[in-house]
């Protein structure tokens, strides 16, 4: 009898530890952690509920794989045996997760594609550096990835899915209380939300649009230095970057230590560039350095004029086409052509970074040529609308006369008792 009991006692833990080697066997095995915790309340119940969605669970891992303990035991004291690690303290979280995630051999068994350098990157980040110094308020793995309901960044509900990232970072970085000791602004999230990148990401659902980690890094998150901001932008805007590098501004900006793109476009609140940024008006970026009378000022004025003229023409054409459409005339052909002009406009705006005014003028002229054709089509459409209304009036007039004639005829016949 005693031997049997002894056998049973080490048989189960053996089976349980097989879990570590063969994840597939994990399914269907007893998990007293979940059994107990799902019967508890509030904070103690939360892990059991959340774990159902967790990616680790999908790979066959369980509570014991991170927290240790004996999931075969129902009694709390027996379950929390020598291997039980409990919940790690904040400062220990990075190494806790890295015990698997930085181990290439371990990760290869589950997902050979996943990187294993997150911890080393983390130590280079501002968060990591401060954590090493003893500040436990900074972000650790669980702050961004969650604790028990961790999901792959490819899953839209995950905290690290592209369009959820601003919110994940903003949980700390947008809070005045949370950030009060760090002396960095807390308006980045608000500013980002107004940007054209946020619009692309949230409204157009363009997952290639940059979010916090694309410019700041993931695990190695750090504010980019002045010189690196432009490299970051060049990731997606290479032609603009090339043009800028060939322009006289490059040397000037480098000498002055000004960040290339950021100086005119900002960092978080990057808006759709408007013509106001050119020219010599008060919103112009050019006049911040170029004084009235200088060559730069003249170039700024020229550029401003070129784009103003082009956009004014575009707007006029759009209005005419919209009016014609409202009047019922088909204008789908000229509307298509307007798209061509838009492409030219985008191209011309890009060229401004190269500062070759003549090239830009040429490009704008291309657009204007097309706009002339569109204007003609628009005018023709308005004429057609007028023609239709005139035709209706004439036809209705004839019909009205005919109706009147009929009415007189009917009245005449009724009076005189038939016979035409």
């Amino acid at each position: 009898m005693r031997n049997e009991m002894m056998m049973k006692k080490w048989l189960l833990p053996l089976a349980m530890s097989c879990l570590l080697c063969f994840p597939g066997l994990g399914f269907g095995q007893k998990n007293s952690c979940l059994d107990c915790h799902s019967k508890l309340e509030a904070e103690l119940r939360a892990p059991a509920d959340a774990f159902k969605q967790d990616i680790h669970q999908q790979f066959g891992l369980g509570c014991v794989d991170c927290h240790g303990g004996n999931p075969a035991q129902d009694s709390e004291d027996l379950a929390k045996d020598k291997s039980f690690k409990g919940s790690p303290k904040r400062a220990q979280v990075p190494e806790f997760c890295a015990s698997c995630h930085s181990n290439g051999a371990t990760m290869r068994r589950f997902n050979p594609n996943l990187r294993v350098d997150q911890l080393s990157q983390y130590w280079t980040s501002r968060h990591g550096q401060l954590l090493k110094k003893g500040d436990t308020k900074v972000a650790v793995c669980t702050d961004c990835h969650g604790q028990h309901g961790i999901q792959s960044a490819k899953y839209p509900k995950s905290m690290t899915f592209p369009w959820n990232i601003p919110q994940t970072c903003g949980r700390c970085h947008a809070g005045a209380e949370t950030m009060k000791d760090y002396k960095i602004p807390t308006n980045q999230l608000d500013e980002y939300k107004q940007s054209v990148h946020a619009n692309a990401l949230f409204d157009k659902k363009d997952l290639s649009a940059p979010t916090c980690n694309d410019c700041h890094g993931n695990h190695g998150a750090f504010p980019p230095e002045v010189k690196s901001v432009a490299s970051v932008c060049r990731q997606c805007h290479p032609s603009t970057g090339d043009l800028f590098s060939k322009s006289p501004h490059k040397k000037a900006f480098d000498d002055m230590g000004i960040s290339e793109c950021e100086a005119c476009h900002g960092n978080h609140k990057i808006l759709r560039p408007s013509n106001d940024m050119l020219g010599t008006g008060e919103k112009s970026g050019c006049i911040q350095c170029h004084e009235s009378g200088s060559k730069g000022y003249q170039a700024a004025a020229d550029l401003g004029r070129i784009f103003e003229a082009l956009q004014k023409q575009m707007r006029q054409n759009e209005d005419i086409l919209a009016l014609a459409e409202k009047k019922g005339v088909d204008v789908s052909q000229p509307k298509f052509h307007l798209q061509d002009v838009n492409t030219i406009l985008v191209s011309a705006k890009n060229l401004t970074h190269g500062l070759a005014v003549e090239d830009i003028r040429e490009k704008a002229a291309e657009g204007e040529k097309i706009l002339v054709d569109i204007r003609q089509a628009g005018d023709k459409a308005l004429q057609e609308a007028k023609f239709r209304r005139t035709g209706l009036v004439i036809a209705t007039a004839f019909l009205a006369l005919f109706g009147l004639a009929l009415f007189l005829k009917i009245r005449d016949m009724t009076r005189s008792g038939s016979r035409p």
């Binding site: 997606c236 798209q339 492409t343 985008v346 890009n350 036809a395 004839f398 019909l399 004639a405 009929l406």
Partner: protein, 141 residues
């Protein structure tokens, strides 16, 4: 002229005018319009010999731009040139033998597939036929 004759005349005259105002649009309708066919099915993109090997040309197909490529081995390929990311017009880069979109670095191979960058979908490929001197491009069935 008595009243009856006037009314009859009025009736006949207004009927004639009404019928004429109806016949006019019908006759104009039946007369062939300037653009003979509804669909621009085939477009003459270029002449044989216009394009050197490993070069390309942008041409108008319907109401949008298209690109005709003469590959390194002399094969003729045609695609829609509207980038599927944000509708900029793509160009051909001979050194990499790929189509490239300068707006955000989108890159397509010679089957139209996206090989890098943000475009979410491939470029539509068109049929190329050579008839005598002309290279015709049309939509695939």
């Amino acid at each position: 002229m008595n009243r009856r004759t006037f009314i009859n005349g009025f009736l006949g005259g207004s009927l004639l005018a009404t019928v004429a105002s109806f016949l006019y649009p019908v006759i104009r309708y039946i007369l062939p319009p300037k653009q003979a066919e509804a669909v621009q099915k085939k477009v003459a993109a270029a002449k044989v010999g216009d394009l050197a090997p490993n070069s390309a040309k942008i041409f108008k197909f319907g109401s949008s731009p298209a690109i005709l490529i003469n590959t390194q081995d002399g094969k003729l390929l045609a695609f829609s040139a509207t980038c599927t990311h944000l509708t900029c017009t793509v160009t051909y880069q001979g050194d990499t033998e790929t189509m490239f979109c300068p707006c955000h670095n989108g890159r397509f191979d010679l089957a139209g597939n996206v090989i890098s960058g943000p475009p979410p979908a491939p470029l539509e490929s068109y049929k190329v036929d050579v008839a005598g001197e002309d290279i015709f491009v049309s939509k695939k069935a």
